[in-house]
Amino acid sequence: MNWFYIEGVLILAGINIIAVLGLSLLTGFTGLFSFGHAGFMAIGAYSAVYFGERMGLPFAVSVVAGGLVAGLVSLFIGRLTLKLKGDYFCIATLGFGEAIRLVLDNVQVFGGARGWPGIPLKVDLVTVTIFNIVGILFLMFLINSRHGRSMIAVREEELAAKVIGIDTYRYKVISLFISAVYAGIAGGLLGYYLTFLQPKLFGLQKSTEYTIMVIFGGIGSISGSVLAAFILTVLPEMLRSFAVWRFVIYGAAVIFIMIARPQGLMGGKEITLKGIAGILGIPGRNRKTARSGEV
């Protein structure tokens, strides 16, 4: 195992973390299931590479712009589908994801089904780490604000959210928008890391994989999503020696976790500095003052 290989796995894990963070906002915090996020990822990937390679925009700008294009498309899709209830929305996203893939398969401007080769490699571990940190912080701050609380209210009890004045439709649209931007950015990074884009990369399997990661990590937990995206990207790599059996083991691991911990790895809780200090037995600031108060 050389460093080049390990770095590659870590970069892929980082890219998956970004996509899963976005989906976590939609599924974990707002309670909407989507099986079309690979579609947003594809839009972000192709737009970013188009901005970067055909229009000559700088790398970071084109990746973020690609994310925004995915976001804009989500606004359009959201207007059409977010008035639908639960399962219907889920099916609509499934159709959307497949439609995007088929459109890209047949539009020759971007290479069609043969793909888009020769994209320069511009993503390294540092880039992905920076995108990850920004992505995690933004989501943390959003969730701990009135906007995040309103999204959680939509997940918990939509009717009650309405009568306490929360515009549930608007928050669903915002949540879908932000999650599509995350997916789009992840797509752009993937394109610039793989140096090759093909519609086949963004099929239903990819969308399903991300939804599994969100649930595996635990609904409504940012650290759970990060952990799950990391574990479920690294695990199949570690199982390479099992050849064809590795995805059987992968599937079995997912089933095992769902039976043993139906609430997911983190079960709606977060890993916090205070929590880690507690486990390690380091007294926190609050506890210190409480102790000196007793004396």
Binding site: S145, R146, R149, I152, A153, E157, K162, V163
Partner: protein, 258 residues
């Protein structure tokens, strides 16, 4: 002064008329009761006022502004909120989070204020948290602050739902059977609580209830519904004597002295 006015309010579901030509007004600062046998259309009227159902015919005015064509969250933003007959809390959130979520109308910072932790966000968020804490104290829920809503005893869940509604600083509070499932002692406490809310929060209250002690004890004005129509309206003494009301509740042979 008049706060809420219903004009010829009608709601039909297919061929069924749930509410038919109901007229009444609710005065500011009053406690009004909405009573009637099961299926009389009481909860339907609540759903119409809060915009959950669309009005078939007629009109609803709140502070002389028509609200019958508005979305529920807009109506809530204007100062009308409610509790539900079957409690609808954010079950998996803590007591504090339930109330804090409902405080959002008292702040106006945007998503980017939050993402960048700007001064506006920090100041308003501090105010929201202080307000939520004060509200829990007033409602005597401070001791349960970090408990998950679902784990609370039934009576406290009802009180938490009222606390959550009060977080909006409403002008009109609609209570849908707040005493359902409560024993006489808890009902008495609830009566005092409703009076206290009216006095301390300065809001007007409209309550649906089957416990007649509660209705007769606290209401200034009572509206009686039967089969979707208004049967009678007036102060408790008058309603208690009304032959039509007695008939609706007890049947024709149930007339006292008959």
């Amino acid at each position: 002064m008049e706060l809420l006015r219903l004009e010829n309010l009608t709601k039909t579901f297919g061929g069924l008329t749930a509410v038919k030509d109901v007229n009444f007004t609710v005065n500011e600062g009053s406690i009004s009761g909405l009573i009637g046998p099961n299926g009389a259309g009481k909860t339907t009227i609540f759903n119409l006022i809060t915009g959950i159902y669309k009005v078939t015919r007629g009109a609803i005015y709140f502070q002389n502004v028509p609200i019958h064509d508005k979305e529920p969250h807009v109506i809530a933003g204007m100062g009308i909120t409610r509790t539900f007959q079957n409690i609808r809390l954010f079950k998996n959130l803590t007591v504090y989070q339930n109330v804090l979520t409902a405080c959002h109308h008292n702040a106006d910072y945007g998503i980017f204020d939050a993402a960048l932790r700007l001064k506006k966000f920090r100041r308003q968020e501090r105010e929201l948290k202080e307000f939520a804490g004060r509200l829990l104290e007033l409602m005597e829920l401070s001791g349960w602050k970090d408990k998950v809503a679902n784990s609370l005893p039934y009576g406290l869940q009802r009180r938490l739902e009222i606390a959550r509604a009060l977080a909006l600083k409403p002008k009109l509070l609609l209570l849908d059977e707040p005493a359902a499932g409560m024993n006489p002692d808890e009902t008495r406490q609830l009566m005092n609580l409703i009076r206290r809310i009216r006095d301390e929060f300065g809001c007007t209250i409209l309550v649906i209830e089957h416990h007649m002690d509660l209705i007769m004890g606290i209401c200034d004005n009572i509206i009686v519904l039967n089969f979707g129509k208004k049967l009678a309206e007036g102060p408790p003494e008058k309603i208690q004597q009304d032959p039509l009301v007695i008939e609706a509740y007890l049947g024709e042979g149930g007339m006292p002295g008959a």
